[in-house]
Symmetry: C2
Subunit: 308 residues, 2 copies
């Protein structure tokens, strides 16, 4: 058995418009890399962290905390060293913390001979999410572990469903260079919603799931609507309405806030459409003068994976 | 082209636990019969109505009102006679009004050479639902027209999705002999819900749709939960909690209120299980001394259909 592996840890889009706290999807060409190495020394040591200014102390790092949760569930007598090469910016809204925590536990599970199920790996990773945002949410870590689209049907007990992902689905993500902390963007949400909006929302969740199984891209697009969270959170994101309408005009199936923002995502059928949407999004931020990162990626079907 | 047809008009279960106002499913061996006949005389005449004490006047009868909506959309110069043979009791919560309005418009559409789509037939039928309950809801008429499970993704614009229906799915429905009017049972609902309950609900809608497409009976069962409507409406239904727990113990995948009640439905895998659930439900009402009707039926896959 190998003592060291290098893994790709995908960025993820949580919520996906209608599915607040339950839906998520993994990206294929946006993500971090990590090297995980077995050591005879007990515990977890983060030996390298490049690309972002994040804590190296195990207990303060999401990969460390998730890894410790896994270690505590084994009788493995040794430990792990972790190297983290971040490409995903913290606070961008495309699952930066989830990439680190899932990459750590997925790789450790490989090195230990796969004693844990994907569901258990999600549970360990949720400890990292709790450190990052104060909440053990699963909507980023589930797609990072399972790949493709995932549904968190229930949190108690935790029940994750991997949803069929149409092959031609591409995501465009634009990240305006402002930071919104997940904890802050949760605070502005109301604790109650109208029943009428709830009905619209679960109608769209049903439509999106049906569209994913039947590979009906038009239905997927019609279902990508959020009556509950987007109207509140979008006010924190510069030029959100312009970016959204430009994306839809450029041919996107749908467009919304990625996770708690500030990144905005769009889904398109085919890479060419996704690129057109990227151009339309960039045009808006170029005009407004807001610096941004932009990504076009196929939906990732396998989640965290070994590289090289 | 024929001048007269006899049709079976299926009973339907709306809401299906998690899908308030959006989900519905049609039954195969519970329903009304209607005879629809072309006439040279304009307008719609209800010539016979057996089995229930309901108004014969066209404008006061749901089949009449739905039929008039269809007629108004055609340039057909004649009219129709309608005979209605009710087996579904009004106010039972299994789509009595939907059976009559869909049966009328579906049969008229056949006799006119099918000028209208299923979606248009649903829209005509919704006029009948408005007469019956004050609300143009579509969650009973959609499965009666399309068959199987249907999702009303959106009301405005109306968007109906026919969902895959696993072949071994059977319904058990028990109707305690008390009447709850749909309009009354809507009044007791709250107009706001907690965001936390909303999240659970759309997680379960997503899970149910995924379970129907993947024919995962266990997932279907886990998803048949209602955190929003059932806790309120179930207090109007005698011994609801006992019937539900007895059904689940007898092997039902899930159990809940059919539409606005008072009927209680359960879904099971296979006819034998559905019969066991029927016995368990009956035992409760026999003990409590409440008269009831009970039905076991496969899920109907085609909706309203020609008979004889």
């Amino acid at each position: 058995m190998k003592n060291e592996i290098r893994v790709f840890c995908p960025a993820t889009i949580a919520n996906v418009s209608c599915g607040f706290d339950v839906l998520g999807v993994a990206l294929d060409s946006v993500g971090d890399e990590m090297v995980i190495r077995k050591t005879t020394k007990k515990g977890i040591t983060i030996t390298k962290l490049e690309g972002q200014d994040l804590p190296l102390e195990t207990h303060k790092n999401v990969a460390g905390v998730a890894g410790l949760a896994l270690l505590a569930a084994t009788d493995y007598s040794g430990g792990f060293e972790i190297e983290i090469y971040k490409n995903i910016k913290a606070g961008s809204g495309i699952g930066s913390s989830a990439a680190s925590s899932t990459g750590a536990v997925w790789a450790m599970n490989q090195l230990l001979g796969k004693p844990f199920s994907n569901l258990e790996l999600v549970q360990f990773s949720m400890k990292g999410e709790e450190l990052a945002s104060g909440v053990q949410h699963a909507d980023n870590v589930a797609p990072a572990i399972f790949g493709g689209f995932t549904l968190v049907r229930s949190y108690n007990p935790l029940d994750i469903i991997k949803i069929n992902t149409p092959k031609e689905l591409y995501a465009t993500v634009i990240h305006p260079q402002i930071e919104i902390k997940t904890s802050d963007s949760r605070k502005i949400l109301k604790t109650t919603i109208s029943l009428a909006d709830g009905i619209k929302q679960w109608g769209n969740v049903g439509g999106l799931i049906a569209g994913l199984y039947t590979e009906d891209y038009d239905l997927i697009g019609r279902s990508l609507q959020d009556y509950i969270i987007e109207p509140i959170r979008s006010i924190l994101i510069p030029a959100f309405d312009n970016v959204k309408s430009a994306s839809l005009e450029a041919g996107a199936l749908g467009c919304g806030i990625s996770g708690s923002g500030p990144s905005i995502f769009a889904l398109s059928k085919g890479k060419e459409n996704a690129k057109k949407v990227a151009n339309a999004m960039q045009d808006i931020y170029n005009k407004v003068g807001i610096p941004y990162d932009i990504h076009v990626s196929r939906v990732n079907l396998e989640g965290v994976k070994v590289i090289k």
